[in-house]
């Protein structure tokens, strides 16, 4: 009898372990982990081309996830995609003249909707519209690797916290490395959108060993490789005073969107000689 009971208990433990593993896989390693189940409000946006954008793709402001794509449909009477965005109620103060853009995270990554704040004093309401949109830009070109990757730092001797504001953090997330001269010296503690402000507040935890960083140093969001993750690079300044716990870094450089980079590359590449050419080719088109 006792023999039989021990089977039952062991088998019960086995089943519980199996379901616990399933629960872990489903909630901790999948996109469920990213989803807020808080209240949301819906905003409409119309795009001429949404590229690979899918339902439940993230909606980001300054690189911080604020919601997801609720539905995608073809608008009535026009070849335009009607995209409904479900945005977290915590971020209720998006100016009505903000611009929604379909971006690609990394070169091979999924697409997401990025919202850039406008300047209006009025905030968008539930069921409101984002009038200004920019469509997805198909990427045909592969670019080389610009920046070397490196390992993260392990904070052994404790760390001190410094903040920095960026207008766009790209895909930077809590845990991303902080590097100086390519060497990891700390990690990103948190990335928060500041409701009502136009930028992302990033808190950096820097290892105590690196306490000789001038307080006029600048922080930039860089990407390791084309498809790699993003990190914060610190370029030392010349001030005699050093950064302390709780300081804010004033000089920052935001993450470049890949579209922006490619745009710059194409513009620079076409050079001054081609500028006239493109201008002249555009003008006749208008004259015809």
């Amino acid at each position: 009898m006792s023999q039989r009971k021990s089977y039952a208990v062991g088998t019960g433990l086995f089943i519980v372990l199996g379901f616990a593993a399933l629960g872990y896989l489903a909630t901790q390693t999948s996109s469920v982990a990213n989803r807020h189940h808080g209240a949301t409000y819906t905003v409409d946006a119309k795009f001429e081309n949404i590229g690979q954008l899918k339902e439940r793709a993230p909606v980001k402001i300054a690189g911080v996830r604020v919601g997801e794509v609720a539905s995608i449909a073809l608008a009535k009477g026009a070849p335009v995609a009607d995209v409904k965005l479900a945005i977290d109620k915590r971020y209720a103060d998006i100016p009505v003249d903000s611009v929604a853009t379909v971006f690609t995270s990394g070169l091979l990554g999924d697409q997401y909707v990025g919202i850039e704040y406008g300047h209006a004093r009025q905030y968008i309401a539930d069921g409101g519209k984002l009038g200004l949109t920019r469509s997805s830009q198909p990427l045909e070109e592969m670019l080389g690797k610009f920046f070397g990757a490196g390992g993260g730092a392990d904070a052994i001797g404790g760390s001190y916290d410094v903040t920095a504001r960026f207008s766009n953090v790209g895909t930077l997330s809590a845990g991303s490395p902080v590097k100086m001269a390519g060497v990891a010296i700390g990690r990103v503690l948190s990335v928060q959108a500041e409701p009502g402000k136009l930028d992302a507040l990033v808190t950096l935890a820097i290892d105590n060993r690196y306490n000789q960083i001038p307080d006029d140093s600048s922080a930039a969001v860089f990407t390791s490789g084309l498809i790699g993750s993003q990190y914060v690079a610190i370029q030392p300044g010349g001030s005699p005073d050093m950064l302390k716990n709780g300081d804010e870094m004033i000089l920052t450089q935001s993450a470049m969107q890949l579209e922006d980079l490619i745009g710059k590359f194409l513009v620079n590449g076409s050079g001054s000689g081609d500028k006239k050419d493109s201008g002249s080719s555009a003008t006749p088109a208008g004259k015809h």
């Binding site: 039989r4 089977y7 039952a8 062991g10 088998t11 433990l13 086995f14 089943i15 372990l17 199996g18 379901f19 593993a21 399933l22 872990y24 896989l25 489903a26 901790q28 390693t29 999948s30 996109s31 469920v32 982990a33 990213n34 993230p58 999924d110 690797k145 070397g148 990757a149 390992g151 993260g152 997330s173 809590a174 845990g175 991303s176 490395p177 990690r187 990103v188 390791s224 490789g225 084309l226 498809i227 790699g228 993750s229 990190y231």
Partner: protein, 256 residues
């Protein structure tokens, strides 16, 4: 000469598949009757499931570690080591988890079931049950089949969890991929429905059914001699492995 032998092998395999299919119908018909032997199903779940945990967990850990190591080096060529967590998770969920778990399950639990039933036949235990008016299909076959069906998805989940842990151990703790990057990239890409329900649950349920059916069938039809039982055990591993990989292809084509 050769052609005749081939013909024999082919027709014999076909006959086996046909018999196996008929046997499946008999087992399915016996499942309602096996309700009163629920305790026996629990006992079998202990033997095929809980007793397989050690090997499943060990192998899951090592598979995850090897994946972490390999992928890190391949991805570093493209400067994409940040994607290590994603690729480890996806390859384990979609392929390695269900397939490796099923192969291990066939080797660990399938052979044990075949040998046990074969020996029960050879020592007249099956006949004794029939004579005690206990239906061996309901008392012996159905509980083992059900136990296999239930145990496989659970084992597969445990395997996957240990695999992710192994990948994390190598990628983050040893090779220095950033912890946040490892997880955030993974959680951005892995979809519950596509990867975990379709990849892990459905596949492993199907594999569990196939392995359990083959194991029970081979034991049930083994000639009642030590040689017969030995051959049946071997056939369980061979037939299960082929069936798992073939079915994997079909399921991947349909589910993905």
């Amino acid at each position: 000469m050769n052609a005749r032998v081939d013909d024999n092998v082919v027709s014999r395999s076909l006959a086996q598949i046909g018999e196996c299919g008929l046997f499946l119908l008999k087992v399915l018909a016996a499942i309602p009757r096996s309700g009163r032997y629920a305790r026996e199903t629990v006992r079998q779940l202990w033997f095929v499931g809980a007793m397989s945990l050690t090997i499943i967990m060990t192998c899951g850990l090592f598979v995850g570690m090897v994946l972490g190591l390999q992928l890190y080096h391949v991805l570093s060529i493209f400067g994409g080591t940040a994607a290590t967590g994603t690729v480890v998770a996806l390859s384990i969920y979609r392929e390695l988890g269900p397939v490796v778990t099923a192969l291990l399950f066939a080797g660990r639990a399938g052979t044990a079931v075949t040998a046990e039933i074969g020996l029960m036949r050879a020592t007249d235990q099956i006949a004794a049950m029939e004579l005690m008016a206990v239906d061996p299909l309901a008392y012996v076959a159905a509980p083992r089949f059900l136990a296999g069906l239930i145990a496989m998805p659970l084992l597969c989940c445990v395997f996957c969890a240990l695999g992710i842990f192994g990948g994390h151990l190598v990628g983050v703790s040893w090779l220095g991929i950033d912890n946040g990057t490892f997880w955030s990239n993974m959680t951005d890409t892995v979809e519950v429905w596509q990867d975990i329900v379709n990849g892990v649950i459905w596949k492993s349920l199907a594999f569990g059914a196939v392995v359990a059916l083959i194991a029970v069938f081979q034991g049930y039809t083994a000639p009642p001699t030590s040689e017969g039982v030995a051959y049946a055990t071997t056939r369980t591993v061979v037939a299960s492995s082929i069936a798992i990989l073939a079915l994997d292809f079909v399921l991947t084509a349909f589910l993905m």
